[in-house]
């Protein structure tokens, strides 16, 4: 372990130029491969697959590498890094007149999200090879462009490009939903497009307000932070700017009651698209609130936080109940995803290090588990041509591995210890309780609700005897267990959930350092004892 740490630190300090270049590579590799796949149509299938594989794999490898370096640098002597930006690199886009330049880098909060994007990108990409679609070349190409947008958005320091890359990822989402979506996908795609575009436009307007009012003539988040810390905006401007950002980002993250695009959108989207959107792209709005909105205009955030908490409780409780009533598996997963956003919003609204820490941890965990669930639901649908919970049943006999994976994913999503989600939820509940006992109790009801709908789905799909429609289906079809190509992406995600579940420090160290730079520790403990200090102690007493 020591030598690994040493090696990573060495790479961190000696090759900073190379590491920064990797940030570009993570965007360009999928972008180029995606472009190639869409433009050309004469390549043999194997070459297409190779190109796509390269495009899906490179961002994941780079993300793992940079995240390892970032972690190694935390608190290391000599190059002490307390969660601030690293690997910073700037590329002149010719827009400097407007204060726009392509500035990339990672900080304590974005590094784990960047890792999430890489991992889910690879899982979604490799799973996409299983999909039976009309034009796989274009499908893979669009997914790659989406992935490029994701890698760009989560490594942007310039908030214009933060937004731009989000759009780069969003547009392929719309197209894929329209081209490859399931039931009534056109009208759903339209609704989703309208919602998300409106949300994005509102947040863009909010960002432009910050840009204009700050007077730094730069979209650079670092410059903006310095400036606004020095000369905070007047309270009324903060209030309406944050309101705009909250409404915009809130729509993108399906804050209640702006969520109605999400469940049907995810139910209709092709699996890999839903994985990338629910798992990763949705985190854009949260990251915007956590990294940009609240730190730059804290008074505005404090002004809106109480309202936000009640809306977010709506996400947990109202949508939680709605989730229980769903009969369509994918729609249920969509609602469940909306419900979990409520936890993250609640934690964000505490505007404390603890809350933000829990929020970012759950963002990573939810990204992995939601992507996994959408993928498994698709595997079920491909086998049974059915997602109606009332009509499935007894699948465990034909597909035991699928059943095992689904149970694992469901319990991870319900916050079972041993999986990453648990740490996010536990921290969030703790943060909330310090803020308001009532809200915390309301949010903790969620652990019962998510168990109710999750286990209901498991027992309806996998346990018991096949239902009447299923036995009819089984007469003419055989259901097989997972193929190796299906297993691999699922195992990748389960592995990530378990590793973080057992060793949460892998992500929480950098998240904690990052959160401490932007937020304050609060509230103050009421008691005499402070949390025990981070030392291993052995003591013997009678």
């Amino acid at each position: 372990m020591e030598s690994l740490q040493h090696f990573l630190l060495n790479c961190f300090s000696q090759h900073s130029g190379l590491n920064s270049a990797l940030l570009y590579a993570a965007i360009l590799a999928p972008l180029i491969m995606g472009g190639l796949l869409i433009i050309t149509d004469k390549l043999p299938a194997s070459t297409e697959k190779l190109l796509a594989s390269i495009g899906f794999a490179i961002p994941a490898l780079i993300a793992i590498w940079l995240w390892s370096l970032y972690n190694a640098s935390l608190g290391a002597p000599g190059i002490f890094n307390d969660g601030g930006w690293q690997f910073i690199t700037t590329f002149d886009t010719g827009l400097s007149r407007l204060g726009i330049s392509l500035k990339l880098g990672l900080n304590g909060i974005s590094a784990p999200i960047y890792l999430l994007a890489g991992l889910v990108g690879a899982a979604a990409g490799f799973y996409a090879f299983n999909a039976k679609v009309e034009n796989p070349r274009v499908y893979h190409g669009l997914l790659l462009i989406m992935l490029a947008g994701l890698m760009g958005a989560f490594s942007s320091i310039d908030i214009f490009f933060f937004y731009f890359f989000h759009e780069l990822a969003l547009i392929p989402t719309f197209i894929m939903l329209g081209l490859y979506g399931g039931r009534q996908s056109r009208s759903i795609a339209l609704e989703l497009t309208i919602y998300l575009t409106l949300g994005a436009m509102l947040s863009l307007t909010g960002l432009i307000v910050l840009y204009v009012k700050s007077g730094v003539n730069s979209f650079d988040l670092i410059a903006l932070t310095t400036q606004l810390a020095d000369k905070p905006l007047p309270e009324n401007i903060q209030n309406y700017a944050f309101g705009m950002l909250l409404l915009g980002f809130g729509t993108l993250v399906s804050l209640w009651p702006l969520h109605s695009w999400a469940p049907r959108g995810y139910a209709a989207a092709p699996a890999s698209t839903a994985m990338l959107h629910a798992g990763v792209l949705k985190k854009f709005g949260l990251l915007g609130l956590i990294q940009i909105a609240a730190p730059l205009i804290p008074m505005g955030a404090a002004h809106w936080a109480p309202l936000l908490m009640w809306l977010a409780l709506g996400n947990v409780l109202i949508i939680g109940f709605v989730t229980m009533a769903q009969d369509d598996l994918k729609q249920m997963l969509g609602y469940s995803s909306v419900m979990h956003m409520g936890y993250i919003f609640l934690a964000f609204a505490t505007l404390s290090t603890t809350g933000i820490g829990g929020a970012v941890t759950l963002m990573v965990a939810h990204g992995l588990s939601a992507a996994l669930l959408f993928m498994l639901a698709d595997m079920i649908e491909r086998r049974t041509k059915n997602l109606d919970l009332g009509e499935l049943g007894g699948l465990v006999r034909q597909a035991p591995t699928l059943a095992a994976f689904f149970v694992v994913a469901t319990l991870a999503s319900a916050g079972l210890p041993g999986f990453a989600n648990f740490w996010g939820e536990l921290t969030i509940f703790t943060a909330l309780f310090g803020h308001s006992k009532l809200l915390a109790a309301g949010a903790i009801v969620g652990i019962v609700i998510s168990a109710v709908y999750g286990l209901r789905a498991v027992s309806k799909i996998f346990f018991g005897e096949p239902t009447e429609p299923m036995s009819q289906f089984l007469k003419t079809n055989t259901i097989t267990d997972l193929s190796a190509a299906e297993k691999r992406p699922a195992i990748l995600l389960i592995f990530a959930l378990l590793v973080i579940g057992f060793f949460p420090k892998l992500i929480t160290e950098s998240i904690n350092a990052g959160a401490r730079r932007l937020y304050a520790d609060k509230p103050v403990m009421t008691a005499t004892a402070q949390p025990t200090s981070p030392v291993a102690s052995t003591q013997a007493s009678h």
Binding site: L190, L258, T427, I447, K505, N512, A515, T532
Partner: protein, 634 residues
């Protein structure tokens, strides 16, 4: 200090490693999974016994803490708190755990999914061991949930609809309890700044004003779920859908006792009001479940209600003893430290003996069920003395132990509980004595009907004794059920809690207690023989007094009330909210108001072209235009 810590690490990690190996490689190799799981349980027991017998551990508290993660003000530690209480529980879990593992090697021999079964068993052993030695409440909560998960997994083992429903019920009802438990833990964290059990104890001693009743009551909520106390008891009878070794290990001897263990682990965190609540809950559960035991013919369900009733006993015993230990005159006589442990001692002593005889009862039932091809109706058994002598004799020992016939283990521990009830709270004393009588009565019903008389079904007449791999565990557990009241059966380290912390009657009260035990125990058995008749083919109470039987069988309509809640309230609220969500939030509010601001025109135009790409192209053109403008091209 190094050796005991290393041993504890090994005891904790061996089942985890076994679980990982089974999960990765042995899902289809049942025999290999069996060897790994039973082997790891054996190794665990061996190490545990070595730790306790060899005096590698000198009895001092081992307290280790390591920060596992930190986010803002929230810090989470992993660690060990190994004291005499933990040592006793570790002994019970590992000792009973191994013998049940060995039994299941025979019982599950022909099961198709042995790999999955042993995976669950290994996960359980890991989680339960972790629960026992956790140093803080948050860490305990982790293992608390994990034992719940393994219980879920094993209840659902047979994959039928009933098994699935039972597994879901167990998990969800436990989550309801955990809801309160978790709030209690977090509340304690904010009040005390830590959930480390040892630190909490010294903090409460310094600042008793910080301890408030809501925290105590919320912490009890976890006990209600895990130890299946009224009103969260409904999952345990259903949990009998799982394989019988699972019922013995998880739903009788160890996991359901975790709630009682928790009570003892944080005995200093209960206010007087909370202690009253504990006594009340335990007392009600003890009587209520004993009555329910008369209303079922299923051997495992009878034992499940018996477990519920005994768990109520344990919970009440803890409350009574701790309350008694708080009395000024008792503190003056025994010293504050010793008096504070009277509840823990009484509850844990009976917890230990109960683990032996209840595991034995379940394994005996398993042996019968196995021999009778899954016949579970006691009225269709009979004539087992001849065909299954070892099972019958060991089962008889367990019956006598649970009814509290001297000098068997149950006599000593039940006696201690009744005595402390006698000292502390007369009403509860009568209640618990009555329950002891009922216990003897329903155990007598089970025993006289199932074992005596002539075989009353084809399966029963073809019964034959189980294999030795199943009988050896029965014999070992019978030995402990018989002699578990004597300290010579236990390592020295355990005597502190099993003996020194337990108040035993002396002199006149000894005679009184002995008389009560004999009357309740022997009297109950005799009464059972009179009422139910050995070898009866039908429930005579059901025939002679159908109304009374119906009352027993109704189980006070708890299940009906919960079903009513779920179907008529929860599900309807969900459907109504779903409707509102679809049509109000999704349909009118959002789409409607969007229309108000004049976007509808634009949207409908776009939708008329019916083409998303149109929209996307406009967007791209806009971006390019913006770019060109900004860079000064035009």
């Amino acid at each position: 200090m190094q050796t005991p810590v290393t041993l504890l690490f090994l005891i904790l990690l061996i089942p985890l490693i076994s679980g990982i190996l089974i999960g990765l490689f042995c899902r289809k190799q049942g025999a290999l999974a069996m060897v790994l799981s039973v082997g790891s349980a054996g190794l665990q027991m061996a190490l545990c016994l070595y730790l306790l017998w060899s005096e590698a551990w000198d009895g001092t508290t081992i307290h280790l803490n390591y920060e596992w993660m930190r986010l803002g003000l929230f810090s989470f530690n992993l660690g060990f708190l190994f004291d005499k209480n933990a040592a006793l529980m570790l002994f019970v879990v590992n000792f009973v755990g191994f013998w049940i593992h060995l039994f299941s090697a025979g019982y599950m021999k022909d099961d198709e999914a042995r790999g999955r079964f042993y995976l669950g068993m290994s996960i359980f052993m890991f989680s339960m061991t972790g629960l026992v030695i956790s140093s803080n409440l948050m860490m305990m909560f982790i293992f608390w949930e994990l034992v719940g998960f393994s219980s879920y997994m094993l209840i659902g083992h047979y994959l039928t609809k009933n098994a699935a429903n039972a597994a879901n019920k167990a998990f969800i009802v436990n989550r309801v309890g955990d809801f309160g438990f978790l709030i209690g833990i977090i509340w304690a964290y904010w009040v005390f700044g830590t959930t480390d059990i040892a630190t909490l104890q010294s903090l409460v001693a310094q600042r008793p004003d910080l301890l408030i009743t809501p925290i105590s009551l919320l912490l009890i909520a976890g006990v209600l779920g895990k130890s299946a106390q009224v009103p969260l008891h409904v999952w345990l009878p259903d949990a009998m859908e799982g394989p019988t070794p699972v019922s013995a290990l998880i739903h009788a001897a160890t996991m359901v006792a975790a709630g009682v263990y928790l009570l003892g682990r944080i005995y200093f965190l209960y206010t007087p009001t909370a202690l009253d609540a504990i006594i009340l809950i335990g007392g009600i559960t003890a009587v209520f479940a004993a009555i329910c035991a008369f209303g079922t013919r299923d051997i495992k369900k009878i034992l499940a209600y018996s477990t519920l009733s005994q768990l109520g006993y344990l919970v009440a015993a803890f409350g009574l003893g701790t309350e008694y230990g708080h009395r000024p005159e008792v503190i003056a006589e025994h010293g504050a430290n010793a008096a504070a442990l009277f509840g823990v001692g009484a509850a844990n002593f009976h917890l230990t003996t109960h683990a032996f005889f209840k595991a034995l009862l379940f394994l005996g039932a398993g042996s019968i069920i196995h021999a009778l091809h899954h016949e579970q109706d006691i009225f269709k058994m009979g004539g087992l003395w001849k065909s299954m002598p070892v099972t019958s004799i060991t089962f008889a020992v367990a019956v006598l132990a649970i009814t509290g016939v001297p000098p068997l283990a149950g006599f000593h521990s039940k006696d201690a509980i009744l005595y402390i009830a006698y000292l502390d709270n007369p009403i509860t004393f009568y209640l618990l004595t009555g329950t002891a009588m009922l216990t003897a009565l329903y155990m007598g019903r089970l025993w006289f009907v199932a074992f005596w008389g002539k075989p009353r079904s084809v399966n029963a007449s073809h019964a034959h004794e189980s294999s030795w791999v199943m009988l050896i565990p029965l014999i070992v557990l019978a030995l402990y059920s018989a002699l578990g009241g004597f300290m010579v059966m236990y390592p020295r380290a355990l005597h502190f809690l099993l003996h020194d912390s337990v108040l035993h009657p002396e002199g006149a009260s000894y005679t009184l207690m002995l008389a009560i035990s004999l009357i309740a125990g022997i009297g109950g058995l005799v009464l059972a023989a009179v009422i139910y008749k050995p070898g009866a083919a039908e429930d005579r109470v059901q025939q002679k007094a159908p109304a009374l039987y119906a009352f027993f069988a109704s189980k006070l309509y708890f299940d009906e009330i919960y079903t009513f809640y779920v179907k008529k309230i929860q599900d309807r609220v969900a459907i109504i909210l779903n409707f509102l969500d679809l049509f109000l939030v999704g349909g009118l509010l959002v789409r409607g108001s969007a229309g108000m601001v004049g976007l509808l025109g634009m949207i409908s135009k776009l939708s008329l072209t019916g083409n998303i790409q149109t929209y996307v192209y406009w967007f791209l053109i806009g971006i390019i235009g913006f770019w060109l403008y900004a860079t000064g091209v035009f």
